[in-house]
């Protein structure tokens, strides 16, 4: 989580602050032109990048009849309606899908944070024989791309009768090796004198983990929780194959499965696409910093 320190300096970002300040009076005019041109280029691209989302939003707020006539008709008609959203909520499937996505994402995030932080605590703080081997095994685990395990995991879940349950989506996503790494790195940076004081006061290992280390780890707990939540919410491959019951499907799988039956009801389809993303958009607006830092941190490590 080195990103916490780097981002704090972002307000004084090197290029923007340094260049104009130092170059004032020397290459002021060409610097300003450069600044204006780059700002325009950036705004143009930002608008291009926003078009697909805005177009989807506009379509979802149109009548199905308008949307079926095509893009020009959608863009030229200004008559916003929530009809598609109402229709989806009335049809009811979407509630089940939200429930499935919510339950699997929350439970996986809680289990991952608990188990990964416990493992990281042992690796960071406790002395035991075989520690290096355990650490090596976990490093090996980071090399295994979980997607290629879809067939054996499907068989395994079938063998223990867990197919078509929320557990079939939750369990395979709990052992996130990257989470152990992120926790271990953070724990390694916590001063040892804090826990030594607690130990002298007679605290056991569990007490040190629970009352000393975890309360100091709120930022990293938040980051791992959010990233796991987003990852599970967005997963398609695993729930697609282990859930066959439409009532248990997560929202991406549910949408992918029924989109064929929507036919020409394009406004409804786009409303569904937006509803699938809505909780994540809200999450992003609240936890923007944690999400960006977490994604950057795991990208640099993973």
């Amino acid at each position: 989580m080195a990103m916490t320190t780097t981002t704090r300096t972002r307000t004084k970002s090197p290029v923007s602050a340094a260049a104009p300040a130092a170059s004032a009076g020397r290459i002021g005019a060409s610097g300003r032109t450069f600044g204006i041109v780059s700002a325009i280029v950036l705004v143009v691209f930002a608008i291009i990048w926003l078009i697909p989302s805005v177009f989807a939003l506009k379509t979802s707020l149109s009548e199905n009849g308008t949307a079926a006539l095509g893009a020009t008709s959608i863009l030229s008609t200004w008559n916003p309606t929530m009809h598609s959203y109402a229709a989806l909520f009335q049809a009811g499937d979407i509630w089940n899908w939200y429930l499935a996505s919510g339950v699997t994402s929350v439970v996986t995030a809680v289990l991952t944070v608990m188990f990964a932080s416990m493992a990281a605590f042992a690796l960071s703080r406790l002395q035991f024989r075989g520690k290096n081997i355990v650490f090596l095994l976990i490093i090996l685990g980071i090399m295994i791309p979980t997607q290629i395990l879809i067939v054996p995991i499907f068989q395994e879940l079938g063998a223990v009768n867990l197919l078509n349950t929320y557990w079939s989506v939750i369990f395979p996503q709990v052992p996130a090796v990257i989470a152990v790494f992120i926790f271990k790195q953070f724990f390694d940076g916590i001063p040892r004198e804090l826990e030594e004081a607690a130990r002298i006061d007679g605290a056991g290992v569990w007490k040190v983990y629970w009352s000393v280390i975890l309360p100091l780890s709120r930022p990293v707990i938040a980051a791992v929780t959010i990233l796991t939540f987003v990852g599970v919410w967005n997963n398609l491959l695993l729930p697609l194959f282990v859930l066959a019951n439409p009532n248990l499907m997560t929202i991406p799988v549910g949408l992918a499965t029924v989109q064929g039956s929507f036919g020409q009801r394009y406004a409804d389809i786009q409303a569904g696409a937006i509803l699938a993303a809505l909780p994540l958009i809200i999450l992003y607006l609240i936890f923007q910093r944690q999400i960006v830092e977490g994604v950057t941190g795991s990208g640099l490590k993973g």
Partner: protein, 319 residues
Amino acid sequence: MTTAPAATRPARAVAATPSTPQRRSPLSRGDARPAWLFLLPFALFYLAFLIGPTIWMLITSFFNTSTVRSGLGTFAGFANYGEMLSRADFWSSMWHTLQFTIYTTPPLVILAFVFAILTNRIRRGQWFFRLAFFLPYILPSATISLIWVFIFTPGSGLWAAAQSAVGITPGAGVLASPKTAMIGIAIATVWWTLGFNFVLYLAGLQEIPRELYEAAAVDGASNWAQIRYITLPMLGRTTTLVILLQIVASLKIFDQVYLMTSGGPGISTQVALTLIAGTGFTDNRIGAASAASVLLFIVIIVIAIIRQLVDRAAARKEA
């Protein structure tokens, strides 16, 4: 990645001095049992859903395992591998994966780089550009696929409308033609995942010491010269990382293909994972699917090793 420990180093140095064996002993003596108990929950899931399936995949790749019969089935030796390596659709799925990598990597690297440099120069309203470029990255693949399939609607979609506006006659639809379907998937993917590289580059830009720019500006270096001679070389390591991550991500592509074209038209966008899923779940041939998975695994491991080597070489050069 070492800033957090660095900040606490003085504290630890202080703690180390009075740390006599007397004080250390309660810390480490009774640790072995609790340590294993702390590792146990994670280890169980790790063995059950990561190592176990990997070993099972390796074993079944040598057997005629199938979903319709229980057990391993008959021993097949290297027959599953032989079959996969001689199947035309295996190689075409590998080719499509390569095609996808070639289409997506240059724009994902170059655009992310340019957007990051420009955004980093903006003093106010950075949040807006972060939102515009990064938000798509956290959306579900189902959302982005539904949006882009609709944009690519033949004849009347937004893409066709844009084509007509600039004087191109819209054809049968980007996703409907075997020649352009993968390009359509690549466009959607670039839009979707650019934000990831964008934030990696932004983080890389923060690490460049500000003094470099100040010194260059004092020497009269223009903005272009600063980017050319300071920013570009300093971001070399980030770029290597971005490219390697992109290649691995391309090898594992599944969602967009499954949702946008299901591998079609024909098998023109079939990729490794759709082939594996098809062989395992549609043809019920676990053994053959496992062999294909192992082959894909080997390719991914090779790239991971290359990344380690590159990383180490870069670290050595910096030191």
